[in-house]
Symmetry: C2
Subunit: 296 residues, 2 copies
């Protein structure tokens, strides 16, 4: 039986170590770097970089170049959280049980720390691409893919749609499209990045893409369920907030039972997408199940 908990602990430790090395390369860090580090090391689950590494392993490869790419994606995820938490956006004071970046520092520093994490992601991708033993054109596809997923046709547009929906709740179709952009695109490109850098062929990339789209949505449905039924202490953030803000959620739109079943179906679909892969995909399979079993 594959031990996901041990696997994730080991990966998280490698990711955290690598991120710390990337950020704290100076004896007297600037205020900017301290704010970047504060948010980056605030105890995230590291789902995206772990997916990137697990995807590379499923294809049969895992080296430091891929670890760097995984960490770059986590930088982009962290920047998006910093900006989403800002007073002008979701105005959140707590994130993962700690004061958000603009609360711990100030608003201007938080905006710039987010900008700098986004920029650093591309710097480390381009820098690593010049030294790692992977073809430059694969790196260029990764950089382009990550930027596309994070940008105006992906994550940022998702946040725009999410904000526009406050007080004007989305229906099920538009909710799904919003999530596909806001969280799905970056999850999908995490899996794509690992696969591509590991040398995946078109068939593998296609299957892994289907895997990622399904668990991306499953992840979001479960986030909604946790926001309603989760334990705020375990989650490290307030729960019940979606309802207060009049946000559309899966439980609100389709009820608790059907939301749970939808999540289970999505996980089933994700497992089916990679059923022909060998046991090097066991981490991906376990992560798919974890998506709906987690408590935070």
């Amino acid at each position: 039986m594959f031990d996901l908990s041990a696997y994730m602990t080991e990966k998280r430790s490698r990711i955290d170590h690598h991120l710390t090395e990337r950020l704290e390369n100076s004896p007297a860090p600037t205020l900017l770097t301290r704010a970047m580090t504060y948010s980056l090391m605030a105890g995230g689950k590291r789902i995206r970089p772990i997916l990137c590494l697990a995807s590379a392993e499923a294809v049969g490869r895992g080296d430091t170049g891929i670890l760097t790419a995984a960490c770059a994606i986590e930088m982009i995820h962290t920047y998006s959280l910093i900006h989403d938490d800002l007073p002008a956006m979701d105005d959140d004071a707590l994130r993962r049980g700690k004061p958000t970046c603009h609360t711990a520092f100030d608003e201007a520093t938080a905006i710039l720390a987010g900008d700098a994490l986004l920029t650093l992601a591309f710097e480390v991708l381009a820098h690593t691409a010049q030294s790692a033993g992977i073809a430059p054109d694969r790196w260029l596809r990764v950089i382009g893919g990550v930027a596309r997923a994070a940008g105006r046709s992906g994550m940022i547009e998702g946040q725009m749609q999410d904000m526009a929906a406050e007080g004007n709740p989305l229906d099920l179709d538009r909710l799904e499209r919003m999530h596909a952009l806001k969280t799905g695109a970056l999850i999908e490109v995490s899996v794509f990045t690992g696969a591509l850098l590991a040398g995946a062929d078109e068939w593998q990339t296609d299957r892994l893409g289907r895997y990622a789209r399904n668990i991306g949505l499953a992840f979001q449905v479960c986030d909604d369920l946790l926001n309603v039924y989760g334990d705020s202490e375990q989650m490290g953030k307030a729960t019940g907030t979606d309802h207060e803000r009049g946000k559309a959620t899966y439980p609100a739109l389709m009820g608790l039972g059907p939301s749970r079943r939808l999540a289970e179906d999505l996980v089933h679909e994700s497992l089916k997408a990679i059923e022909e892969f060998d046991n090097r995909s066991d981490p991906l399979r376990a992560i798919a199940r974890y998506t709906i079993d987690r408590t935070r």
Copy 2:
């Protein structure tokens, strides 16, 4: 005699056309794309992309791949203006004679439009790299160089230092270091990008780097002079604001005459750096002189 005005008009028209094509590729643009376009097409001088193109010409090449790279740098410049203008930062209502992005739209949209322009810059760089007839490793060096110049060791750190200096004015040394980061780094990488993509060798890159560092600072000294003595109507923004904010400027620290002479010396140094280049560098030479002759 080289006609800089005609040269810049022609280049600006190509740049504007290319930027419009990149942004407005949809019959029903989203709110996000409209905010991005609003700021990107608000009548900037296009100094950075023009420098990129002129640098490539000095080395002997100019194709659409280089135009795209030049435009990506302008996207990054525009994002930095949008974020610098935010209420939490410089809180400016006017930019180039028009309401700033957060005034014309709202704060959240402005933050995200800035994020999206920064992200789009890397998307178009990586995308163009896959089709243009320039070696992928040159593109990777450009992407890494642009990210470095724009990030926490460049432009963003410069903005942090500039903000920290409000009410606590910098001395001449720290003012120069701040400008080298805040505006110098992106100007230098504009020249570097054009040179590298045009196939520059190490000697050419080194000379063009010296050219760029000198005109970058000259540009800033003249910006300070224009803020004191410029015509706000011609500038399209308020003047005298540096003094009101208690910001250190060259005229305040060293007086008007010495500031003018410093700018002239810097332009002289920039011209000397490329004196062995042939007449394909005439645009670069004319731009260096324009740096201190401009009225906006």
